[in-house]
Symmetry: C2
C-alpha cells in the first residue's frame, strides 16, 4: 500500500518532464524538484540525490544552487553534521510562481520605449503597439492584487485548520 521507490522515482521523472517542457529547466533540475516533493525524509543530502537520481555531483551541485536561488529549495544544516540537506521551500514556491507570472510583463520596458518612438505618429499608426502594451499594463496592475488575495486567503485557511 505504501509508495514504492520506483513509483517515487517515476513521479520525479514526470515532474522533470513538466519543468523541462513548460519552464525550460534542465532535466536534472526537474528531477531534484520532483524527488524532494515526495521523498522520505523531506531533507536530502547532495550525496543522496546523486545516488537516487543517478546524476553526477557536479550536476546536483549546480541544480541545487539554482533551485535555492529561485527560492524553491532551501538549505538545512544539522548540528554535528558537515553535510547540508536540501528540502522544498513552501514559502519560496508561492513567490516563485507569482514571479513567473509577473515575468510576462517584463516586455513592458521594451514596449514603452517603442511607444515613445511612435509618440509623434498618428493614432492609427500607434494603435497596434498600444493595444498590445495595454494588455500587459493591465496584467501588471492585476497580478499584485491576485497575490494579495492569495496571501489573505491562506492566512484565514491556515487559522481554520
Amino acid at each position: 500500500m505504501a509508495i514504492t521507490h520506483d513509483e517515487a522515482l517515476r513521479f520525479a521523472e514526470d515532474v522533470a518532464l513538466y519543468f523541462e517542457q513548460d519552464a525550460g529547466l534542465p532535466r536534472i533540475t526537474g528531477r531534484v524538484i520532483g524527488w524532494l516533493l515526495i521523498c522520505e525524509p523531506s531533507e536530502q543530502t547532495a550525496g543522496q540525490l546523486v545516488e537516487t537520481l543517478g546524476a553526477s555531483k557536479a550536476s546536483i551541485s549546480t541544480s541545487t544552487r539554482q533551485l535555492m536561488q529561485a527560492g524553491l529549495v532551501e538549505k538545512v544544516s544539522v548540528p554535528g553534521d558537515r553535510r547540508t540537506y536540501y528540502r522544498i521551500n513552501d514559502e519560496g514556491w508561492v513567490a516563485s510562481v507569482f514571479e513567473r507570472l509577473a515575468a510576462v510583463t517584463n516586455i513592458l520596458k521594451v514596449l514603452d520605449k517603442g511607444s515613445e518612438l511612435l509618440a509623434h505618429e498618428s493614432p492609427a499608426r500607434r494603435a497596434r503597439l498600444e493595444n498590445v502594451a495595454d494588455l500587459y499594463r493591465w496584467m501588471q496592475s492585476e497580478l499584485p492584487p491576485l497575490l494579495a488575495r492569495h496571501r489573505e486567503q491562506r492566512l484565514h485557511d491556515g487559522g481554520e485548520k
Copy 2:
C-alpha cells in the same frame, strides 16, 4: 521627428531579446514579432521580412508558421496578389498571454498523480506535496475569472472610446 528605419529595427531587436530570454523563442521569431509591431504598413510579405530582417526565406517561413499557430500573427490575402501578408493579431495575443499564464497549472496533472500515490500515507508525509498542489489548484480557479474580467473591461472601454 518620425521614427527612423534604424530605430524600428533596434526596437525589433529588443523585442527579440525579450522573447528569447523570457519565452525561449528563437531570435528570428522574436524579430518578426517586434518588426510587425512597429512596421508601416502593418501588413508585410515574407519577402519584405526577409529583406528588412536579413534572414533567410526558410527562417521566415518557419517562424511565421509558428507565430500563426501561436495566434500572435495572422495571414492576410489581397485580391489579385499572389503573395501572403502577415500582421499582428490582437485577439490572438490576449489568448496567447492567458494561455501562457494557464500553462503554469499544467503541472497539476502530475501532482495529482503523486497525490494518489501518497493517498495512504500519513498526513504529515502528504503535507509537503499537498501544499504545493493547493497553490496550483488555487491558480487554476483564479485565472479564468481574471480572463473574464479582462474581456468585460475591454468591452466597456471599447464602447466608450
